[in-house]
């Protein structure tokens, strides 16, 4: 293994490589993309040009896209062989986050729907 190859393997999350120009360029691209996505998010939230009930889902998609931009351009998570461990850890983290969030929201909504009683009846039960 050449010293150069060795160097390529020594890349941890957040650690940039290459020259000053290309490294800075990566951050500038990331910043511009993040600014665009943030701007679009605020526009989508305030416009009436988009079907109302679809706006929330659109905003979530934009947020996930922006998180991806941050991961790639700021934290330098890549699909390269030097990044396998970082990507696997990230995948596990994302799995946990989705399990916790979607699981909670689905279950609590179901409970809420099934438990909903007439306010008068609820009041009666409370008195026992």
């Amino acid at each position: 293994m050449t010293p150069n190859e060795d160097n390529l393997l020594d890349v941890a999350p957040g650690l940039p490589h290459d020259s000053v120009l290309t490294e800075t360029l990566a951050y500038v691209i990331g910043l511009v993309l993040a600014l665009i996505l943030t701007g679009v998010s605020f526009w989508v939230a305030s416009t009436s040009a988009i079907w109302g009930p679809g706006v929330a889902m659109g905003l979530v998609v934009l947020a996930i896209a922006q998180m991806g931009v941050h991961l790639v351009f700021f934290l330098h998570i890549t699909s390269g062989p030097d990044n396998t461990n970082n990507v696997l850890a990230l995948a596990f983290g994302v799995l946990m986050v989705f399990l916790v969030m979607i699981g909670t929201i689905v279950i609590m909504n179901q409970m809420d729907a099934n438990m909903a009683t007439d306010p008068a009846l609820m009041n009666l039960q409370m008195q026992h």
């Binding site: 293994m1 020594d10 941890a12 999350p13 957040g14 650690l15 940039p16 000053v20 490294e23 800075t24 951050y27 990331g30 910043l31 993040a34 600014l35 943030t38 998010s41 605020f42 939230a45 305030s46 109302g52 706006v55 929330a56 905003l59 979530v60 934009l62 947020a63 922006q66 998180m67 941050h70 991961l71 700021f74 934290l75 461990n85 970082n86 850890a89 990230l90 596990f92 983290g93 946990m96 986050v97 916790v100 969030m101 699981g103 909670t104 929201i105 609590m108």
Partner: protein, 213 residues
């Protein structure tokens, strides 16, 4: 690499790595940021529980103020801009630090900290304003969840600011030594992660929370 080691386990032709740790542990410059990356991911799992709580309770206002009445999109836009730019300048500080350039490193770290401070000041102003307008954390389940989620992020930013100050002092007194650089790298991972969590907060809490009902 001895021939004995090469015959064990998952050895591939041409590769010296047996996959059994025969090369020994990775260098500290790999292991330390990787461990910190695991911490940051577990921190995100913690935040996911707070997000789930907020999503469940966001309409439980108990007749009190709702998200539509409380949140100002203009303030949130300024906060978002401050934190995004600070994430950017934090990256520039790392680029300068890798070249062992003291003035640029300290300068960019200072800008990063200043932007973080602006973010935190706006957040505190918002909290105090809400509490004085009849929307303190104890008013409703929605407000409890809101202050816990956004306050937890604010506490992380506060810790990050202290860490930035510490790193500036350590770089100044000890120079760009290997262990100092590892700490600085962990700081940058932490700071970028805070911005990622903020993206989720401004989308779920502030933008979706202020959509016309």
């Amino acid at each position: 690499m001895t021939t004995e080691a090469a015959t064990i386990g998952l050895t591939h032709g041409g590769s010296e790595d047996t996959g059994l740790g025969h090369r020994g542990p990775e260098s500290k410059s790999i292991v330390v940021p990787y461990g910190f990356w695991l911490f940051v991911l577990s921190d995100m799992v913690l935040f996911s529980a707070l997000f789930a709580t907020y999503a469940t309770l966001s309409h439980a206002t108990d007749g009190g103020p709702t998200s539509n009445e409380l949140f100002s999109r203009v303030l949130v836009a300024v906060e978002t801009m401050a934190l995004l730019l600070s994430s950017f300048t934090c990256g520039l500080a790392i680029i300068a630090a890798k070249r062992k350039h003291m003035l640029w490193t300290q300068g960019w770290l200072l800008v990063t900290g200043a932007l973080g401070f602006i973010f935190l000041s706006i957040e505190l102003y918002e909290f105090v304003k809400m509490a004085s307008e009849g929307a303190p954390p104890q008013r409703s389940a929605f407000l409890s969840a809101f202050f816990t989620l956004v306050g937890c992020h604010g506490a992380h930013v506060t810790a990050g600011l202290l860490w930035i100050g510490t790193m500036m002092a350590q770089i100044w007194t000890k120079g760009f030594k290997d262990h100092i650089m590892r700490r600085l790298l962990c700081l940058s991972i932490f700071w970028h992660a805070l911005d990622i969590i903020w993206v989720a907060i401004f989308t779920i809490v502030y933008l979706i929370g202020t959509l016309p009902a």
